[in-house]
């Protein structure tokens, strides 16, 4: 009788098996790679804002301090976005007729807030505190990038948990040695490996800062 399979079927079969294995591996590795890409972390996406506010002009050219507008960054958990009144503080004198500032004036006189698009977002179960970071000498650029060179603000850092931990495990990399909490640098792997045992939490003096409840409450 006619053979059941043509001659090439063995080759095809082997290829198919190989592809199957590859696909399985891809299913596991693929997502791991994906979550580390800007697609997932929403990095480098300049958002349109209701007002065409240009940080290059204000922060770089005019050299206005970040804290001049984002004043609560020193005292509060949230850096805050300036009230319209702050904008108008200058813009009653300068550019007070510019059409670009129309939304600002509308907000100022109507009292209705400007609806800014949020760029740097953390999940609601993460409690980041601006005040302590700013007052402990972390400069804004560290996490927000060089906003002074951005026409429209975008997120430059991944803002993932691992990214936070990298600094918290060796702050000196972020802010230089801190007399209050000196700490030896350690590899991310060494540190993550310690997650296996709670006892090893304690052998770093900044442990208070990598323990879960430092950010999750």
């Amino acid at each position: 009788m006619a053979s059941l399979y043509p001659a090439w079927s063995n080759t095809a079969y082997r290829l198919a098996l190989f592809a199957l294995g590859l696909g399985a591996a891809g299913l596991v590795v693929g997502p791991m790679i994906y979550v580390r890409t800007p697609y997932n972390t929403a990095q480098f996406e300049p958002w349109d804002q209701p007002v065409e506010f240009d940080h290059r002009h204000h922060a770089r050219d005019d050299g206005i301090e970040c804290l001049y507008c984002h004043s609560s960054a020193e005292t509060s958990a949230t850096a805050g976005v300036p009230t319209t009144a702050v904008c108008m503080g200058c813009h009653v004198q300068v550019w007070n007729t510019s059409p670009l500032l129309e939304p600002v004036r509308r907000s100022y006189f109507s009292g209705a807030p400007i609806r800014w698009r949020r760029v740097h977002t953390l999940p609601d179960f993460v409690y980041f505190n601006h005040a302590v970071h700013v007052r402990r000498g972390i400069d804004c650029q560290r996490c927000h990038g060089d906003v002074g060179r951005m026409a429209r603000v975008m997120q430059t850092q991944p803002l993932t948990m691992g990214w936070c931990l990298d600094c918290h495990r060796s702050p000196e990399r972020a802010a230089g040695p801190d007399p209050a909490t000196p700490t030896p640098p350690r590899s991310a792997w060494g540190a993550t490996f310690d997650m296996f045992t709670r006892h090893s939490f304690a052998d770093r003096s900044i442990t208070g800062l990598i323990t879960c409840s430092a950010c999750h409450r």
Binding site: T75, T78, G111, R118, A180, R198, H199, R217
Partner: protein
């Protein structure tokens, strides 16, 4: 000054408050699909188009994300308690006691804690109604303005102590000379004042100094939880009892006689269960013993002495009486005898006489003018009489809900029908609103300006933290409308009154400053009433008491018929708080019953009736009857049934609807507190009781150690088996930073449960409803385990606040497969909700069973307004994750962040947990082990310290101090230390 209303709030500043991070059912499936792609990103569920909406102009006193606190007051039945309320970005989110306020000293009641939820109650009335149809406030104002002078105007209010209100009433009378004010509350204190009048010729208020009292005898008086001064008194009483710092110390002694066990009774050193109706006889008996002991007050009429001679003590209390009398006599001038509010005037007069005889007046008891305005003025009865006579043309009922709470035999409903114009002003449209022609929504006290006096007379201010959510006028504004002020402002009214009050002398500037200072503080310093010299007209009083003794004698001894007594609920008071879920689900201090009330009776009576807990019984009394599930309460008086008020609401909200039974039908105007002659019969039906504590006995396990003072002195370290080191194979855990810990003294925990509600408010803890409780799924992070010791008819109670013990070798930690519950270097057992996948292994392995699981999406379906109450610094837990007490880690971290900014360590007493802050007695102490000298550290040096389930080697950070009872020597047997 009042922060803007929530709709103007920038959402971004309150993460988790106005939008929950959790899933709702729609998102769920979507997410299930997406989660594979989200691998590693874990539970990040961010809103893709979140907006930041900064205010257009700076708001005064506010930094986004930084809480602000304002002092204000809560008024209950006329008495003010000082509160400090925390607002986050314009939303009031938490009530605390005002540490400076004499009626609070920092403590609060469960009701005070829950008042924040009342503000956000979604069922609150939202508009003016005329005959049930929407109307305008302007229309009502016009109507009021058009009232003729001789309009037969009557007001029905709760008892009032507000000076502003008194002033406004005067102004109202100028327009309506015949205007009358009737005051009423289901928990009427007129008897107290009548008793005082009998003794002193005028209604003086007794101010107790429990911190000075070596011996206290409470006759049906739950002074630690259910009386106007309770919060302050709890602190004072605890201070006195805390002299038991070591075995040498003297805790004083508390004698209690009461029908059904109360928080006060559960802290007694020497307790007897006695029907409320026998208390009068007991008081007489006490006086008799004291007179016999040669301490007869001068001028006591002979016939009274004669009657007292050989006065029979109520049978069950004979031993108690003699021991107590002896004890009282032993410490003249250092004792307090007090009777409960529901006791008749004669009993109160007797008690005054006893205190006089013991020389307590002026020592441990000061007498002042009453805080209440016209405490003996007209009440409901007078109002009904006037209405029947057709004298009432216009009736304004404000706050009160008499159609639910008034005894039916008054015939109030018929009376109302005869009144042409009735205006009801209230937070809710309730039973009374429906019977009135007009309805006006009242503003909540957190939305309005006002003033009131504390129990000791301290002038306290009510300050709004938010504009009225649903419009509405405050009580004073309503009265001002009758005074001819079409659109009054509470702020202006109060401000003017204050200016006039301070007016004479002093520059306007100083007045301004003083006012600012008082509003900031929440009350005027030293505005409490001065003590009045106690002048008893003993002969007259004696004469007046003779007939009372006759009736008391007649009563006492007679066992049948059965007595029914009514008490305010520790959770919903008289039912006015019945729509607050936190309170409905609050386990009652002794019975642990939630969601409703029950007919409480003792084991003896239950056995004779053949009923068990949960059997529905029919209580009938001269034609009126109700049906309620029976609940057997050890330590309840025999031949007596007691029923909490506040059940069976027929209107006033979805939560309140149909919860519990209305005791009303059994109450009569003549005997609102208690009455004899109720018939109890089983109906054969059963109704499941939602009780949170499965078993009150210890089953021979050494769970809540307690002993008598004598035994304690004989063997100070009797808890030695429950503390100290245990051999372990585990490596030591090196600690970094302050080591947080808690110490709880069970000798001064009355079980009042303020901490439970405080915890719920602070930590966004949802309620699960009656069915949820029946399914053992209540979510309280902090519960109070009440252990019964001794015999069922004379039990001792030990209250043990049970929260996460923060074990140093925590069984929950090593079983969590994903590191969702871990140990922090500062000794906390952390729970990371967003890492939890919900295996529930940790709960199985927690010997204290303090972990709670989100079986359903409890937070998703909550009403918008309820969500406004949420604490933005605590994650709102989603479905399927475990949660538990965190030692209020959000407060710890906030302090740490501040101290890191200031480059210092946390200061002693800087971190205060919600439960500790609320506790009226101060039984809960929290802090860092390094901070020597703080109570938390000092207490855990006491020999009676112990760790719960110590033998398991979990090394809890929470330490307990054993309960020490101090029974009179000759009755020591009543406090046997057997544990099962």
């Amino acid at each position: 000054m009042p922060p803007r209303a929530p709709e103007e709030l920038p959402s971004e500043f309150a993460p988790g408050a106005d939008q929950r991070p959790g899933l709702d059912r729609r998102e769920l499936l979507k997410l299930t699909a997406a989660s594979a792609a989200l691998a590693g990103l874990g539970a990040c569920m961010e809103h893709p188009h979140e907006r930041i909406m900064p205010r257009s102009a700076e708001a005064p006193e506010q930094t986004p994300g930084v809480p602000v606190e304002y002092a204000t007051s809560m008024v209950l039945d006329g008495f003010a308690t000082g509160h400090v309320v925390k607002a986050m970005d314009g939303r009031p989110i938490k009530v605390e006691g005002n540490p400076e306020h004499p009626a609070s000293l920092g403590g609060t009641t469960a009701l005070g804690q829950a008042s924040i939820l009342e503000l956000y109650d979604p069922d609150r009335a939202r508009g003016v109604l005329e005959r049930g149809r929407p109307a305008s406030r302007a229309g009502l104002a016009r109507l009021i303005a058009s009232l003729p002078a001789q309009s037969g105007l009557w007001f029905l209010l709760y008892p009032q102590s507000s000076p502003l209100l008194v002033e406004l009433l005067a102004r109202v009378r100028r327009r309506h000379p015949s205007a009358q004010v009737a005051t009423d509350t289901p928990l009427d204190r007129r008897a107290v004042y009548r008793g005082a009048s009998m003794a002193f010729g005028r209604p003086l208020e007794a101010q107790y100094r429990f911190e000075r009292a070596d011996v206290v005898a409470a006759l049906d008086a739950d002074f630690l939880a259910a009386m106007p001064g309770s919060v302050r008194w709890s602190r004072d009483f605890a201070a006195r009892r805390r002299r038991l710092a070591g075995p040498g110390g003297d805790p004083g002694r508390l004698h209690v006689a009461e029908p059904s066990p109360t928080p006060t009774g559960s802290l007694a050193d020497h307790r007897v269960a006695l029907r409320a109706g026998d208390i009068g006889a007991l008081a007489a008996g006490l006086l008799a013993e004291i007179v016999r002991g040669g301490r007869a007050p001068a001028g006591l009429p002979p016939e009274l002495v004669a009657r007292l001679a050989g006065f029979p003590a109520p049978a069950p209390a004979a031993a108690w009486l003699s021991a107590t009398a002896r004890d009282l006599a032993r410490s003249p001038g250092r004792a307090i005898v007090l009777a409960g509010d529901r006791q008749p005037a004669e009993t109160h007069a007797l008690v005054h006489l006893i205190n006089q005889a013991l020389g307590n007046l002026g020592e441990t008891i000061a007498l002042t003018e009453p805080a209440l305005h016209d405490p003996l003025g007209p009440g409901l009865a007078e109002l009904v009489r006037a209405a029947a006579a057709g004298e009432v043309q216009t009736l304004v009922i404000a706050e009160a809900n008499p159609l639910y709470s008034a005894p039916p035999d008054l015939g109030l409903e018929r009376a109302l029908a005869r009144i042409p114009l009735t205006i009801h002003a209230s937070l809710h449209e309730n039973e009374t609103s429906r019977a009135c022609t007009w309805f006006l929504p009242l503003a909540h006290s957190l939305e309005s300006w006002g003033d009131a006096r504390a129990y000791d007379g301290t002038l306290s201010f009510i300050q709004p933290l938010i504009r009225p959510l649903h419009g509405g006028a405050s009580l004073v504004e309503l009265l001002a409308m009758f005074a001819g002020d079409p659109d009054p402002s509470g702020h202006a009214l109060l401000r003017d009154r204050d200016r006039r009050a301070r007016g004479e002398g002093g520059a306007a500037r100083d007045v301004e400053l003083a006012w600012e200072e008082d509003v900031r503080r929440g009350f005027s310093l030293h505005s409490g009433f001065p003590a009045q010299p106690p002048r008893l007209d003993i002969p007259a009083l004696g004469a007046a008491l003779v007939p009372a003794l006759a009736t008391a004698r007649a009563r006492s001894g007679a066992e049948e018929p059965i007595e029914i007594s009514f008490a305010p609920s520790h959770a919903v008071h008289d039912g006015r708080f019945a729509n607050i879920g936190w309170l409905q689900e609050l386990p009652r201090p002794i019975t642990k019953l939630t969601w409703g009330n029950a007919a409480q009776l003792g084991p003896g009576l239950a056995a004779r009736l053949g009923v068990d807990s949960g059997d529905v019984v029919r209580l009938s009394m001269d034609g009126r009857a109700i049906e309620a599930p029976a609940l057997i309460v050890p330590g309840h008086a025999d031949h007596a049934v007691s029923l909490e008020l506040g059940g069976g609401r027929r209107g006033g909200g979805q939560v309140a609807a149909g919860v519990g039974v209305d005791a009303g039908p059994l109450r009569s105007a003549a005997a609102p507190g208690f009455a004899r002659g109720v018939r109890v019969a089983a109906t054969g039906e059963r109704r499941a009781l939602a009780i949170t504590q499965g078993e009150m006995r210890a089953h021979g396990r050494d769970l809540a150690p307690h002993t008598t003072l004598a035994a304690y002195r004989a063997d100070p370290s009797f808890t030695r088996a429950l503390r100290g080191g245990l051999p372990t194979l585990l490596p030591g855990r090196s600690a970094v930073g302050p080591q947080w810990a808690m110490t709880i003294d069970t000798s001064i925990c009355s079980g009042c449960s303020a901490c439970v509600v405080a915890c719920q408010a602070e930590n966004n803890i949802p309620i699960v409803g009656r069915q949820g409780v029946l399914d053992h799924r209540e979510m309280h992070w902090l519960r109070i385990d009440t252990t019964l010791c001794g015999s069922a008819d004379r039990p001792d109670f030990v209250h043990q606040p049970m929260l996460c013990q923060h074990c140093q070798d925590a069984p929950c930690e090593y079983v969590c497969p994903v590191n969702a519950t871990t140990h922090s270097p500062d000794g906390l057992n952390e729970m990371t909700y967003n890492r939890c996948i919900g295996t529930r292994f940790c709960s199985n392995n927690c010997p204290y069973k303090v972990r709670r699981f989100n079986w359903f999406d409890y937070t998703g379906e909550q009403a918008e307004t309820i969500q406004l109450q949420r604490n933005p610094n605590v994650t709102v837990r989603e479905r399927g994750v475990m949660e538990k007490c965190t030692y209020c880690v959000q407060r710890i971290r906030a302090v740490e962040i501040q101290s890191r900014i200031e480059r210092r360590g946390p200061r002693p007493g800087e971190v205060v947990t919600a439960c500790q802050q609320a506790c009226p007695t101060g039984a809960i102490q929290f802090g860092a082990l390094e901070h020597a000298g703080t109570p938390m550290v000092e207490w855990r040096r006491e020999p009676r310290r112990y760790a719960a389930l110590h033998e398991l080697g979990t090394r809890p950070r929470t330490m307990y101090l054993a309960r020490i009872t101090n029974p009179p020597a000759d009755t020591a047997d009543t406090a046997d230390t057997d544990n099962d």
